[in-house]
């Protein structure tokens, strides 16, 4: 039922194509935006995502990545997803390496600066199996922001003159009617679905995000549906005591899943830092052999465990406790 409804909203348009206002408004009008509880399991949440959808991913690099949800999408055998994120890390590896996604729009894609190039990205992109469309970081931000504002584009002053712009005819050079200056108009990005991990939200989806926000607010406003994973679900009363801390309003949100350590092995601001031992093991294995190494990682850590908690237990209590201690220390003087 969810699957069907999700499929109905599937777009199948060429990336960079701007949705008409009529389409955008129509999709939003059909969403149930009422104040209602929307807590589901990770498995149910994954059923909101259909093959071929465009998927916006929250967080950035190794921070507040919705890893549990990505992990579940891979387990559920999703295919041909077209993903976007401001900066892509091991989440992109897993999406390409598993076959869940064949296209990513982002500004940077490796595992992390510490580890050089991602052999998984290289293998998949250089072979032509997958497509990596490059935009500048700010352009990604302005694309989500245009999408969230309900306008078809925003003007920017970067990318001009670069190879990055030449590769993206979806963005249009433009002479400003006010000043005569050259600007670049970047097209709105309204993903079919956004995946966002937060520190806390209520059962309706009112989400409060501590620390770094990245592009999550714009992404949530832009997407045609939003799935939140959250470290914890709090009461609506708690949200209403500090409404100026709410960053995503409930009516943008279609599903809420409580997943403690839902960004592991990446970090969640104020809760845990990245789990570097696991990441280093991962990077050595997949960069050593981006096919067999990735297959083994997926078998062992994605398809293997019975649940997200079992995956966490494979990371190990020692590393989780250490990451948590470091995570909480951000609030120390």
């Amino acid at each position: 039922m969810m699957q069907t409804s999700a499929n109905k909203e599937r777009m199948n348009v060429e990336p960079g194509t701007v949705q008409s206002y009529e389409e955008l408004r129509g999709r939003l009008a059909r969403r149930d935006r009422s104040l209602r509880e929307k807590v589901v399991t990770l498995e149910q949440a994954a059923s909101f995502v259909s093959d071929g959808m465009s998927v916006g991913i929250g967080g950035s690099t190794m921070s507040r990545t919705p890893m549990a949800l990505i992990w579940q999408l891979i387990r559920a055998g999703k295919k041909d997803l077209s993903c976007s994120r401001c900066i892509v890390s091991t989440d992109g590896d897993l999406l390409f390496g598993s076959g869940a996604a064949n296209h990513i729009e982002t500004s940077w894609f490796a595992q992390g600066i510490l580890w050089g190039l991602s052999k998984v990205m290289r293998h998949n992109v250089e072979s032509g199996a997958c497509r990596y469309d490059e935009w500048s970081h700010m352009a990604m931000g302005m694309r989500y922001r245009a999408g969230g504002m309900g306008v078809p584009f925003l003007p920017i002053r970067s990318m001009l003159g670069s190879g990055v712009a030449k590769q993206r005819p979806e963005a249009k050079e433009f002479d400003c009617p006010f000043t005569g200056e050259k600007l670049l108009l970047v097209p709105a990005l309204n993903p079919d679905v956004a995946l966002i991990h937060v520190q806390r939200c209520d059962a309706y989806g009112n989400a409060q995000i501590d620390g770094l926000q990245f592009m999550d607010i714009d992404l949530a406003m832009a997407a045609n549906r939003v799935i939140l994973t959250t470290e914890r679900i709090v009461s609506n009363d708690q949200i209403r005591r500090a409404p100026d801390q709410t960053k995503i309003p409930f009516f943008c949100v279609d599903a809420v899943v409580e997943v403690p350590y839902g960004s592991a092995p990446h970090e969640c601001f104020g809760v845990y830092e990245p789990m570097m031992q696991h990441l280093e093991m991962y990077v050595a294995q997949v960069n050593g052999d981006p096919i067999a190494g990735m297959k083994k990682y997926l078998d062992d850590y994605v398809y293997g465990p019975k649940s997200w908690t079992e995956f966490l237990s494979m990371i190990g209590v020692g590393e989780i406790v250490a990451a948590s201690r470091r995570g909480r220390s951000i609030f120390d003087d």
Binding site: S136, S162, Q167, Q213, M215, M276
Partner: protein
């Protein structure tokens, strides 16, 4: 360098980069050497240096031994004045609040154009590199310091792909491309410090690092070098600079 070095290539790059920063500046720093050099400058001659990170941070003081693995990690927010959205921190560059953009480079050409996207033909690349991140935005919108390793294959006549624009094809071509502000200011390597000619916009050698000859430098560079008429020799890293740097990066994440 002929003598047994008292410091690594990364160390001298970091120290010389830190020296380029002035107290009170607003610096947008990339991960790795830029973050480390800006933090070093804060601890040496720039206590009032404001460091911006792409993750959405204004005025951080990164802690010794806790260098973040990217500029999007919580460690980047330590003792910051403000945390904001990443699009919004990038917009500060566009509005003009930033004095200096400071990043690393994989490949650079005579006009300071940077490539971090493709080795070989972009349509069928030998190597797909990670891409621009905020590099394109920073290089498009503010004055740039680039810190990078000096190798012949990295210092090329013409980059395979312009990821982050320098002066494009020199002269006025940057402004004509729609980028009237900013541009390359300095390039720092383990061999030399470079600036750019005010008119032609060609890279030129401003100072040689200790022990480096013009011939050494040319041998390691993929295009014919222009030397400033007053080329100097840089003071070597001081003990204080090196000691402070090594305290910041005890695990030698970025100075190995």
């Amino acid at each position: 360098m002929i003598e047994a070095p008292k410091y690594t290539a990364s160390e001298i790059i970091t120290v010389l980069s830190a020296r380029q920063l002035k107290d009170g500046q607003i610096v947008f720093a990339g991960i790795g050497t830029p973050l480390l050099a800006a933090t070093l400058a804060q601890r040496l001659h720039c206590p009032g240096l404001t460091i911006l990170f792409e993750g959405g941070v204004i005025g951080a003081f990164v802690e010794p031994g806790k260098l973040p693995p990217s500029t999007n990690d919580q460690r980047c927010t330590k003792r910051a004045n403000m945390v904001l959205g990443s699009a919004d921190v990038l917009l500060l560059l566009q509005r003009g609040y930033v004095d200096v953009g400071f990043m690393g480079g994989a490949q650079i050409d005579r006009y300071g154009n940077l490539n971090s996207s493709y080795i070989g033909d972009p349509a069928k690349p030998k190597t797909r590199l990670p891409g621009t991140g905020g590099g394109n935005d920073i290089a498009s919108l503010t004055n740039m310091i680039v810190a990078m390793k000096h190798e012949k294959r990295r210092f090329v006549e013409k980059v395979d792909f312009i990821t982050s624009p320098g002066f494009i094809r020199g002269n006025n071509t940057r402004a004509e491309s729609g980028l009237p502000e900013g541009g390359m200011f300095r390039v720092i390597t383990e061999l030399a410090v470079f600036s750019f000619d005010d008119n032609s916009r060609e890279m030129k050698v401003l100072a040689l690092n200790p022990g480096v000859t013009k011939e050494n430098l040319q041998d390691n560079t993929g295009f014919d070098l222009v030397f400033d008429k007053n080329v100097t020799v840089t003071e070597p890293p001081s003990n204080q600079e090196l000691t402070t740097l090594r305290v910041l990066d005890p695990d030698r994440l970025f100075i190995a």
